[in-house]
């Protein structure tokens, strides 16, 4: 299963599952909820944070946090 840190820039993915820990839950409350679609808008260089669009907002996560979100990549880059 892919995690959200493996999404390519401008590619979308559907959230499948979240880590059950505290941070994973917090992501859920922020709107990273299974079934939703997210798109990677930009990633900071040298392994810096990632900016995702979810619904109508842009949320930046570190790669460690993005790894807590399991996703299904859409077949082609948007």
């Amino acid at each position: 299963m892919n995690t959200a840190d493996t999404i390519n820039p401008h590619q979308s993915a559907e959230i499948v599952d979240l880590d059950s820990g505290d941070t994973g839950q917090r992501l859920g409350e922020l709107g990273f909820w299974p079934g939703k679609s997210i798109e990677l808008l930009s990633s900071a260089p040298f392994g810096g944070p990632l900016a995702f669009q979810i619904d109508n907002t842009i949320v930046a996560l570190r790669r460690d946090e993005a790894r807590l979100i399991r996703v299904k990549l859409s077949s082609s880059a948007a």
């Binding site: 059950s20 941070t23 839950q25 922020l30 709107g31 900016a51 570190r62």
Partner: protein, 703 residues
Amino acid sequence: MEEKQEPKLVALAGVPNVGKTTIFNQLTGLNQKVGNYPGITVDKVTGKLTVKGSKVELVDLPGTYNIFPRSEDERVVARVLCGLQPKTQVDAVLVVADMSNLERGLFLTTQIIDLGYPTALVLNMADQAEKDGLKINKTLLERYLGIPVIATVADKRVGMDSVKSLLSSGDFKVGKPLLQPTDLADSEFIDKIVEITGQSNPFRALQIMKFIGKERGVERELKDRLLSLGDSSKFKPEVAQLEETKLRYQKIREILSKCVKSEAQQEKVNYTKKIDKVLLHPIWGMVIFLGLLFLVFQAVFAWAEAPMNAIDQAFAWLSHTTANALPPGALTDLVSQGIIPGLGGIVIFVPQIALLFAFLALLEASGYMARAVFITDRIMRPFGLNGRSVVPLISGFACAIPAIMATRSIANKKDRLITIFVTPFMSCSARLPVYIVLVGLLFDANTNFFNSAGTAMFFLYILGIVAALASAWAMKVLMKNEPSGGLVLELPRYKWPVPKSVLLTMYEKSKAFVFEAGKVILLISIVLWVLASYGPSDEMAAAEASVEVPEVKTAENLAEYEYQVSAKKLESSYAGLFGKSLEPVLKPLGFDWKIGIALVCSFAAREVFVSTVATLYSIGDDDEDMQTLQEMMAKERNSEGGKMFTPAVVWSLLIFYAFAMQCMSTLAVVYKETKSWKWPTAMLVYMTALAYLASFLAYQILS
């Protein structure tokens, strides 16, 4: 029945970045008060307003996504809304949500409804929702939630009158609960926690049950009883929370599917994405960030200079005038030499604080601040810091005081403490006069574009940065058991800042500094003044007598005489005696007792070094005399008759000033921000010990 003695207390709640503070500012203007929640380092911001004769008090709760506390901010919200916060018993709640992002907004709103409060919902950014092609059926939403709903565009003051009349009529409604406590736990368990907590609303009781394990500020007995009940019933707070989140989202989605129509899928957050292509660009983003930083730095450093000089002169004049107007005596001296300069020492920081916070407010309100955090996070991470530490650290070049006040934006406690701890290492502007005088002793002035003095200054600034980052890293290692904050950061839409909010931030921050940190600074400066002005009486008299009264009483001679007397008096004052008693300790660094006195007095503020040294070497401390001061220092001899200020001594002194914690204002602010003397004490000890060690090494190697 008329029983209105106290104004109603209405809490303003909402998710971050929905314009809640703009609404608060629009409603209350300057009638705001910043106070404390006991035991929590979160400001309690309240404001009053009178609409059509009825008085309402508003409390602006920190922005949160949830009632389940994971940070200090969220803790305040959970405490207040579960009725655990003494003196903040809320009568009604006004929830602010982003109309174009209702799902998250309703998550918080329905939680508050379930807690049983009379509630009303403000849907802000209605213009944006329209642009996004969202049509919201307000009447239907009101019916589903059972509370009044008002649409606003707070930035443009649209809909604010409706909010005001709602506040005056008090027409909040206890809404329809979205979830029942029994959806989440069995009724027997609920009955028990209701009984223990004494809460009338079972949902509130359940909420308290969920976070009681992490809660420190409640009665021991209540906590123990709830925790043992939790153990025996195998209650898992995280599981209950996850269950609630799932159910709540499910129900919210049902409501939204009926109340919201989204027109043909439009490109959302469009212009924001376009701007981000440039501002988050790996290269251009960094270039723009550095450019903006340079501008802020210039402002705080250069633009503040003129008002700071004016304040300096105004207080000097005031002190002089007071001294002449009042009858001479100890009390007059205390006022003119202790209290007035002490007050001046506080007020002089106001231009820097106001300017820095104006810029920070602009960056924050426009949405750029979150981008700055995004692009710098990677650089700060190895040092145990995060992107949010960058702005305070850079601001530290101007002055550590506003910089430390700016660390509030760091949600994680550990990251924030590390940032506060290392910020004073950044070479602040108060070190600059000291550096200029001392570096001037090292090199002959030359006018090359790159001169040695400039290189030495650059080295000192780099030294400060290295010390800050190395200390941050060391603290990260020491505090490895404390949880580090990750980075979950919303990048809000770009928008034009509202000038009124920026001005209010400037005003509030300056006021907070003057009244809170100011009290401590004033107290310490009076103590320092007493120590520097008084000494054992016979020694003071002897000091005064040791100076020859000039035979020809020209103005020049008398001024010279006055200087000599004040120098001798300082030498035999308590501060002077203390300086002398420090000599054995300072000798390994190459310092004599005169430098010792200067170091003691520098504790009021580093730049006091220049005036103290000037007094000790009996000359005025006007800027024009800087050259003469350097000449006097260059001529100064040590006890063996050699040159006192050898390169070894000067470097040792420079390094001491680069590292040592010699700023009581900073310590006062750290105390205010951390609510404990532990951190200021630790900083004082650590930085001074580091300074001592580094100066010792420098002196021993160079001499």
